[in-house]
């Protein structure tokens, strides 16, 4: 955690967009934070957990986004300023709470940060959270830079309290993970270690119990509040450049604004009227109408869906403004925008030649990149999931069906493991396995072996497992339990040995209590033990649960490195190695390489993290410990 985040006085620092949001929340007097991690939002949660140790705010890693969202509601209703953060798909999980709570409103400010991932850098789909804001009828602010993220976080709290509404602060990967200089304000008085803001829930059942007659009144009050917010605040949430410029206009928001500014210089033009809107729903009606009246032609530049564009067109129609409006006819709708994409869109809008031959460059880039060997992300050396996947395939063979889930272990899709046949959304491994098992009954019964991580199991697997057991399903569920939420940066989950405030929950006891037909716990580094458990499970019917438990290797090695400790390393005995490549072509640890000159495998000592699984995989006993790490 950077000192700039918790320094009481104002300061200037290099911050990620996500860190700027954290600082903005603290400057607004945040007291309660709850979230489930998810790229590109996770750094917000990580920073809050660290800050809670020095500033005395409450921060937790929640079991899932819905739980986090609802906990924040409780805090806000108790008079404590609250924040949750999540990735875009996290809002799908929390949307039940959002849709119902939207019209019930807040007491202390409540800001939900939702980070979209255009181009799906680390996600299973692309969705535009601004549409959720319109759906739930809550305001959404859309910052352009880290500085803007800090400022708009503060604005979000102001709006939330003034209009008693939940506010969504929407970021994208390119803002969350953009680093830039940020000038901070100072922290409010009242923060200190062991000095938590204490709230009190004041009963108001006529507002907080959403029975139909109360919900009807809440809805009307909320609609009025939103109308007022748009009318009163709208002109403070837009910025216009070159108000007396040309008769060509640009309306933009979020990171797209940056690309427009750069395209201007690139194309050598100036004087374009640019309106940047910081609130993309509700779009400030009067400022937009005035802007549209001042130009002949306007281009709306935004990433993903035409959220601003459709509102602009509606305003022009309602107000009878005669203006030519362009948007997604010239700006790509799929994937993230880039400076060059926006430069092309702008040159087409202005009927200018693009500043360089992008198509040629892109073609040259494609040809050249094709020469680089593909380097997809892969499970780490010593990753226990690799050993588990290897053992599952060994026991069940590739005739079995492998539904899987969201996490590092989705990488089991890649060769040579190929033990991931489906991946949809959090927890779907269990329910999809149930559907496949029921649908496939009577065809001779292919074995269905689902895999799910421990964090995902607690996030959304519990109800799916209950459903499968209660409906008499028939599959094996292997819980890949590395004791952490690894992909997003090692946040704890309810099954973790450390990092939680309360009690650790045992996955095997949960499965037993639910009535699973077999429950076993195995160590992934003991491959024959995993194969044995799999074989026992395959001999019976029903919902069988195997917990493959071993600490995340990356977490363990990072800790050892930090403490200056060493670990075991293995090497290939070249005399015994026959060059069969089982270790490479069936197991695939990135530390094991192929020496083409003498046709033997070898282990890169820098990359060996000492799990010893390859020694069990080698049919010729050629892999041994060479350095016991003491």
């Amino acid at each position: 955690m950077s000192n700039a985040l918790v320094s009481p006085a104002s300061n200037k620092a290099l911050m990620l967009g996500n860190e700027a949001i954290v600082r903005g929340a603290l400057e607004s007097g945040l007291g309660f934070f709850a979230a489930y991690p998810g790229t590109p939002s996770s750094e917000i949660l990580d920073a809050m957990i660290d800050i809670a140790k020095v500033l005395g705010i409450y921060a937790e890693v929640s079991a899932n986004e819905k739980v986090a969202f609802e906990a924040c509601l409780g805090a806000s209703w108790s008079g404590i300023r609250a924040m949750t953060s999540m990735k875009h798909v996290g809002l799908n999980v929390a949307s039940d709470a959002l849709m119902s709570a939207a019209s019930m409103g807040v007491r202390a400010g409540f800001v939900a940060v939702v980070a979209d991932d255009p181009s799906m850098w680390s996600s299973q789909n692309e969705q535009d959270t601004r549409i959720y804001a319109r759906f739930a009828n809550v305001p959404v602010l859309d910052p352009s830079t880290p500085q803007d993220a800090l400022n708009l976080t503060k604005k979000a709290y102001e709006l939330s309290e003034k209009y008693r509404t939940i506010v969504i602060l929407r970021t994208t990967t390119r803002l969350s993970h953009m680093r830039g200089g940020v000038e901070t304000g100072s922290l409010p008085q009242g923060y200190g270690k062991e000095k938590r803001y204490i709230g009190e829930f004041k009963k108001d059942p006529d507002r907080f119990v959403s029975l139909p007659q109360i919900a009807r009144r809440n809805k009307l009050e909320h609609v009025n509040a939103m109308r007022k917010l748009e009318e009163v605040e709208g002109d403070k949430l837009v910025e216009i450049e070159h108000a007396d410029g040309s008769d060509l206009g640009i309306i933009t928001g979020g990171v797209s604004y940056n690309y427009i500014k750069e395209a201007e210089t690139w194309l050598g033009i100036s004087g374009l009227r640019i309106m940047r809107t910081m609130m993309s729903y509700p779009l400030p009606r009067k400022p937009i109408a005035d802007f549209l009246k001042s130009v002949d032609k306007v281009l709306v530049v935004e990433e993903l869906e035409p959220v601003i564009e459709e509102q602009v067109k509606l305003i022009a129609f309602d107000e009878g403004i005669d203006v030519e409006i362009h948007g997604k006819d010239l700006v790509p709708r799929d994937f993230e925008l880039t400076p060059e994409k926006v430069a092309i869109s702008l040159s087409r809008f202005l009927k200018l030649d693009p500043p360089i031959d992008f198509e040629l460059l892109e073609r040259m880039g494609k040809q050249t990149s094709a020469l680089a060997p593909p380097v997809p992300p892969t499970l780490c050396p010593a990753c226990p999931h690799r050993s588990t996947f290897y053992a599952i395939r060994k026991a069940a063979t590739n005739r079995a069906i492998f539904p899987s889930d969201i996490g590092c272990y989705t990488l089991g899709y890649y060769p040579p493991l190929k033990t991931v046949d489906t991946c949809v959304d959090m927890g779907a491994s269990v329910s999809v396995a149930h559907g496949i098992a029921v649908a496939g009954r009577g065809d001779g019964g292919k074995t269905v072996v689902a895999t799910i991580g421990d964090s995902t199991f607690f996030h959304s697997g519990l109800s799916a497992l209950a459903n499968a057991i209660a409906n008499g399903s028939d599959f094996i569920l292997v819980v890949l339990d590395n004791g952490t939420t690894a992909m997003t940066g090692h946040q704890p989950n309810p099954g973790s040995a450390e990092g939680n405030r309360g009690k650790r929950i045992s996955i095997e006891e949960v499965a037993k209590a639910m009535g699973a037909d077999l429950v076993e716990v195995v160590d992934p580094y003991d491959i024959s033990a995993v194969v044995g458990a799999m074989k026992r499970a395959m001999e019976i019917k029903g919902v069988r649960v195997i917990v493959a438990r071993r600490e995340c290797a990356l977490k363990l090695i990072s800790e050892k490195r930090r403490k200056g400790e060493t670990w075991k390393r293995y090497a290939v005995n070249a005399e015994k190695c026959t060059g069969c490549k089982a270790c490479i072509n069936a197991f695939g640890c990135p530390a094991i390489k192929w020496d083409a000159s003498n046709k033997k495998a070898y282990i890169d000592p820098e990359m060996c993290w000492g799990c010893g699984s390859c020694a069990q995989v080698c049919p010729f006993d050629a892999i041994k410990v060479v350095d016991d790490g003491v």
Binding site: R179, T338, P373, K593
Partner: protein, 203 residues
């Protein structure tokens, strides 16, 4: 002034740390800086990149295609993915030590020849290639983990590079654990020293 850098490499090599050092050095020097990083999935030993942009008229974190001044490739083949983002005459600072990816070990793909990579950079994209044996330099400095500092040392020799040794050293001390700072600073100086002659010949 506008100076655009892309850093490419493989997850775990320290691409984000190098970017962070350049960013902190820019902030220290009073230069406006914007950076873009990749977190999450790709960090697991996959291809990874970061953009560092400096200058008064820099807004977003992404280097526009064809406007890059320097490609800092921590792994040779990884440079091939971003050459088209560079300007003609731009610098390719290349760590000559390959990391063989699993697809190559499995025999599914050939690793390109280092000479071929350099040829493409010079002939096809008009880049000036500064080859650095960062592994050797780091070993000399006292630890293989200091390879990226050797690369940073090389950048200091490139004409037009807007950061000074003082700023980089400040940033290294800020970003890297104090236990390793001295080794890294030594690697920076050795990296600069080794690069001087190559730069004099091609710039």
């Amino acid at each position: 002034m506008e100076y655009n850098i892309i850093i490419s490499g493989i997850g775990g090599q320290g691409v984000l740390t190098v970017a962070r050092i350049l960013g902190e050095a820019a902030l220290y020097s009073g230069i406006k800086v914007r950076m873009s990083e990749v977190h999450g999935l790709s960090q697991r030993f996959g291809s990874i990149f970061a953009h560092v942009r400096m200058g008064d008229h820099v807004y977003g974190g992404l280097v526009p295609m064809g406007k890059g001044n320097m490609l800092l490739a921590l792994e040779p083949a990884e440079s091939l993915r971003y050459m088209h983002y560079m300007k003609k005459g731009g610098a390719l600072v290349l760590n000559k030590n390959p990391i063989e990816p699993p697809q190559v070990s499995m025999g599914l793909f050939n690793y390109p020849n280092l000479l071929e990579i350099k040829d493409i950079a010079t002939e096809k994209f008009g880049l000036r290639v500064i080859e650095v044996d960062a592994k050797k330099i780091a070993a000399e400095a006292g630890g293989e983990l200091a390879q990226n500092s050797a690369m940073l040392g090389a950048t200091l020799e490139i004409p037009g590079f807007p950061l000074t040794r003082e700023a980089i050293v400040y940033a290294v001390r800020k970003v890297i654990s104090s236990r390793y700072a001295d080794i890294n600073i030594k690697a920076i100086d050795l990296g600069s020293e080794e690069t001087k002659k190559i730069v004099a010949a091609i710039f």
